[in-house]
Symmetry: none
Subunit: 202 residues, 4 copies
DNA sequence: AATGAATGAGCCTTCATTCAT
DNA sequence: TATGAATGAAGGCTCATTCAT
């Protein structure tokens, strides 16, 4: 048989990489970075420890790549969401964005865990900082667009605040998924930002 | 000669304990729990590894005690704050609470880092969960009191939301202290909750 | 009050020593030498670790003293037994000796455990060897007297063999006290040595 | 190049395992289980501590495997002995068994030391109990066969007693190999069981 | 490309022994 | 005489990383 072409090789490599990233992502999310060993990942990804080091030069490197990989879907989803709905009213877009976030919280608990656990451990593993910041600003930009559409003067700071709120809700939901009133929080936020004419606090 | 009196020993022990807790607190905050070794703590607290185990029966036990220690000031501060100002208007109290929180963020960066890093790692170290939850509910109760004073119907859920907002801001400030607009966030929150008659978003 | 006399002091010291020896003996027997810490002993003997080192210069020293202490009763009992019954027939004496040994096995399981565990660990802790040998020869001498009384020509070797039999039974009883047929073994031995005219093997 | 074949790896692993078992066996026998460190074993087996844990999951696991390893020869020898001589008279078989045991005592002092030291430490390390009991019952069964052949009515109890005698002799020989009259003991036992018509005690 | 045996630094923890009081 | 705080060496075990095959 003729040797595999370079392109074939490339795609095999790419597939392997995804295999590893997927395995690492799940394990990091569930067990935490420190409690996941390279061996665990190799077993889950069905290859050898040695081969893993052909693709990622260290555990830390792998971690960084996992962050980018994990958020790839998220940011892409956000971007296509914004594109596909650009002829809707800003209020509708806002609601959709919030609702998307909340369903992601519930459906992708693992991603949230990873995000937050990484966010917090940044000071301990400096190299992840840039990676995280990169992702953060992409997401922030997407929220800004919405606030701009809603004609907020301070759309940048509003975006930052909403980002913080989302983070805070995420962290608390993660801490105690059984008891945290996710649904009510979602409604409160939408009320406060959009339907506040109907929102009587007292 | 007779041995030291019990009272002397007690106070020495108490001092040592604080010495260790303080060292552990700082290291856990800066380097994270997993990256801090018992040896690091012993060196920083200027005693031997062995002695540390006279005071805390394991690294995990120490961690739990650090959490309680770290939040002792915070919860006490909150409680005395609420007491000392109970004849003020709820609006004033709210402002003071928010301002206190924001200055704590700036002044006690380490505490925030620890809080958040622990919050996230709970699933990996179950025994910390109860300790954290205990602290969380004390703080939540204090916020509830304020919202009650402000006559919010849904004061419980408002407290949860505000708690989440605070967490979110904390985490983001922690991620990037240089660039996060702490001052502006503080004003935005006060505006949204209190001075919103003057708050024109557009 | 006048200072305690030297004699009073001596007897206090002696009492303390016994306190420690008794505690150490029990702990060594139950938990084994290696699993018993100096602290365990100090706590059980109700004194401080430091004081313990005034009486015994190391853990190994204490072990040696415990061996002598533990066998003091045994050897004294054996000696007084032989004295008090010297006008009985050798056969009776033999039976009494065997029966005493078997009841000691049941009643003083701890002593047996200690004896055997020490016997076996001698090579690991050389200093105990002499102490044990000393005790062994006293006991052996007592058995020899009996065999002499029974007119055995090879009374010395018979004593050694019986000693070995006793050791072997002790070790096996210790291994599995529930299932080992202690009573039957006792009868078999008496039959083989004394009542063998009645002993039909087939 | 492709990695080593599975068969090659298997045989390397098997060799390594024996290397470790052999080293551990000798050290446990000579220095005792507690005085032998994992590092000692690794050094003696000429491999790293870490690798040792690829083959045995803990020190205690290694201990259990050492017991089985150490007795493999013994039980196999006993079995093949019984097979190869089944057409001999029971008396001859008995003599051969006793003689084999006594030469094993002399030639395999280490095995005896290990056996006995483990026997005694069982209560401290429960997991070894089963392993030891397993081995013990195999040996006991072999002795029973012989006593059955000799037409002993109480062949089971006779087997237990002889087992105890062997143990006792083993322990005492171990304690003082220089002075213990092994040869005479052997003759005494054979006389007592087989040649007792010629055995005049007086 | 692929394996997993092999390494060794580093971790948490225990404990005999010393010593200031 | 009496205490127990303090030490530090040593132990069992884990795991990221390397390398011969």
């Amino acid at each position: 048989m003729s040797p595999r072409t370079k392109i074939q090789l490339e795609s095999i490599k790419e597939a392997r990489k995804e295999q590893i990233l997927e395995a690492a992502f799940q394990l990091f999310s569930i067990k935490g970075y420190h409690h996941t060993s390279i061996n665990d990942i190799a077993v889950k990804a069905k290859l050898s420890k040695g081969l893993l080091y052909n693709y990622f030069k260290s555990k830390e490197d792998l971690l960084n790549k996992v962050v980018l990989f994990a958020f790839k879907d998220t940011t892409e989803m956000g971007a296509s969401l914004l594109e596909s709905i650009e002829n809707l009213s800003p209020e509708k877009i806002f609601k959709i964005l919030i609702k998307s976030y909340f369903s992601m919280l519930q459906e992708q608990e693992e991603l949230m865990k990873l995000t937050l656990s990484l966010a917090v451990q940044i000071s301990a593993i400096p190299s992840v900082h840039d990676t995280m910041m990169q992702v953060y600003h992409i997401l922030l930009g997407q929220i800004e667009v919405v606030f701009k559409g809603l004609n907020y003067k301070e759309y940048q700071k509003e975006a930052i605040l909403l980002g913080a709120i989302m983070d805070g809700i995420g962290i608390q939901y993660m801490l105690d998924p059984e008891n945290f009133p996710l649904e009510e929080m979602k409604e409160m936020i939408i009320n406060k930002y959009i339907d506040n004419e109907n929102y009587t606090k007292k």
